[in-house]
């Protein structure tokens, strides 16, 4: 083994530094979330979760993710099909543009929709005339969530489908399969783990997004607060135990996400599907 070529003291030193840093920066915050959440006992913990405002925040978060994830899933599959199975000019530019939302600050991601749909925005006066609200209302939150999770499925599927080529699909075509049959019987089984991987990451971000949603939400309690925004309000009002109780839901979501991610990586390796990079 190559590790043997490093002297023992070097190995011990480096491993210790890595583990101390890991403990302080990753493990300690995770432990702290649950400790702070349970500081005032289980009664307070569950009371904070059962509050109507908390429940409405959970509902809104599920709604936003429930719309954003399927839309971006359909988009990701369509984009990957067009990009991986066909040749056309400007392909590389298209791939870069799809990645764009990842490089935009979350706050700017919210701002762009305020500038279009807000009262002083392009459609603001028209929306106000027709008594429609996008900003400081649920549609704005959904839009911002779609934007920040836009690339997740596509960027997972594009390299995967590019690597797989088109031979199997062409064979199915020659044998008389129609478009949808080709996709569901031939392509889908080949990409299912990559697809699931993208959906898991997309969902985690959709449920946890803070900055973008914060800009468009208006923080109306019981109406336009998602779970992360509810955590912020509780924390700023010095309800630390309640804030951490609600935050613990998101920490559990993060742990479930990491576990699901590992399981999918394992499954993918078993079935020989090379997953693209994370993040």
């Amino acid at each position: 083994m190559r590790s043997n070529s490093d002297p023992l003291w070097v190995r011990l030193l480096l491993t210790s530094v890595a583990l101390v840093f890991f403990g302080l920066f990753l493990l300690l915050p995770l432990v702290a979330v649950f400790t702070e959440a349970l500081r005032k006992g289980l009664g307070t913990y569950f009371a904070a979760l059962a509050e109507p405002e908390a429940l409405s925040a959970v509902w809104l978060t599920l709604l936003a993710a429930g719309i954003a994830v399927p839309l971006n899933l359909v988009f990701g599959v369509a984009a990957a099909w067009a990009i991986a199975k066909f040749d056309f000019p400007g392909k590389q530019v298209l791939i870069t543009l799809i990645d764009l939302p990842f490089s935009v600050s979350p706050v700017v991601s919210g701002l762009i929709y305020v500038l279009i749909f807000g009262l002083q925005g392009w459609f603001g006066p028209w929306l106000a005339e027709h008594n429609l609200k996008v900003i400081f209302a649920v549609p704005g939150i959904v839009l911002a969530t779609i934007f920040v999770t836009f690339p997740f499925v596509a960027r997972e599927l594009i390299p995967l489908m590019q690597a797989q080529g088109t031979e199997e699909e062409q064979a199915a075509r020659v044998l008389g399969a129609r478009g949808w049959q080709i996709f569901s019987r031939v392509t889908l089984p080949n990409i299912k783990w990559g697809l699931l991987y993208g959906v898991i990451l997309c969902n985690a971000r959709a449920m946890g997004e803070f900055g973008a949603v914060s800009v468009v939400s208006g923080h109306i309690r019981g109406r336009t607060n998602t779970i992360p925004l509810h955590v912020e309000i509780l924390y700023n009002e010095y309800h630390a135990a309640a804030a951490f109780a609600v935050a613990s839901l998101l920490a559990i979501l993060a742990l479930v996400t990491l576990a699901a991610k590992m399981a999918v990586e394992w499954k993918a390796r078993q079935s020989g599907q090379e997953l693209a990079h994370e993040h």
């Binding site: 302080l24 915050p29 369509a78 836009f150 088109t166 914060s214």
Partner: protein, 274 residues
């Protein structure tokens, strides 16, 4: 007959439909809203734009955002390399759990990271109470911002370096050793040059993420004008004061920086693939 190379587009169905949908959806969600921002900024006039983005309070926020992001990304290059090295090369108990939890900052919502780090680092917190006697204040100072950005950026470096480190040729290392190079010399002369592109990519990814970061920073920064206000926060402040033109101007500056960094990242990644 020689098998003719089939043009991909003529054989499989669905090209028009999927590309059409892709372009329409991309335009509606991403391209049109982003261009609207530039149009809005332009409509406010150049003088107003320039005055907003060079206001001393805004300039102070650039300095803080850039400085803190740079410091955090640089720290992550060192610590990320060390962690990747240990994960790839040394066996130790619990390694798989450590490896899985490296991605925690990607999975944990930023607001949760923000309130947790603030609670740990304030004067009464688990960590802050030991820093206080040493005269180190982390919460509500630039140091706290750097710590939050280190947390957010760590996985970028580890995950970019890890695969490259796994592929470093053992024979080259052995050759260096057999030619009389010490371990340290082998690392500096043989291994490090192979890792450098990945480290640079990881650094840029972590830096780009840090520049725009909001949720994990806003709680720990304390948001004091001229001292601990990051640039994304100023956009929110302007919006809360109904200064849409001001928010847009700063937003455009941030977008231009993001685009520039995206180009750099694309360049680095494409070069790495060659």
């Amino acid at each position: 007959m020689k098998p003719k190379k089939l043009r991909k587009s003529s054989v499989l169905p669905g090209f028009g439909l999927t590309l059409g949908f892709t372009l329409a959806y991309l335009s509606l969600i991403v391209l049109i809203p982003l261009s609207a921002t530039f149009a809005k900024a332009a409509s406010g006039g150049w003088a107003h734009f320039w005055n907003t983005v060079t206001d001393p309070r805004v300039v102070a926020s650039y300095r803080l955002t850039f400085g803190a992001s740079l410091a955090a990304a640089a720290f992550n290059v060192v610590m990320g390399l060390l962690i990747a090295w240990v994960l790839v090369r040394y066996p130790f108990p619990g390694k798989r759990i450590v490896d899985a939890l490296i991605d925690l900052p990607f999975a944990l919502p930023t607001a949760v990271a923000g309130i947790t780090l603030t609670t740990l680092l304030n004067a009464h917190g688990w960590v802050g109470r030991y820093l206080e006697p040493l005269g180190i204040k982390a919460a509500f100072t630039p140091l706290g911002i750097v710590i939050a950005l280190i947390f957010i950026g760590l996985p970028f470096v580890v995950r970019t370096v890890e695969p490259v480190l796994q592929n470093v040729d053992a024979e080259v290392e052995q050759a260096a050793a057999s030619l009389g190079a010490g371990r340290f010399q082998t690392f500096v002369r043989v291994i490090f040059p192979e890792l450098a592109p990945a480290l640079l990519t990881g650094f840029t990814l972590a830096f780009a993420r840090a520049i725009g970061e909001y949720g994990s920073v806003v709680f720990i920064s304390g948001n004091m004008p001229m001292r601990t206000e990051i640039t994304p926060l100023l956009i929110i402040t302007k919006l809360e004061q109904y200064d849409y033109a001001g928010a847009t101007a700063i937003g455009v500056v941030m977008l231009l920086i993001s685009f520039a960094l995206l180009l750099v990242i694309n360049f680095l990644q494409r070069r790495a693939e060659l």
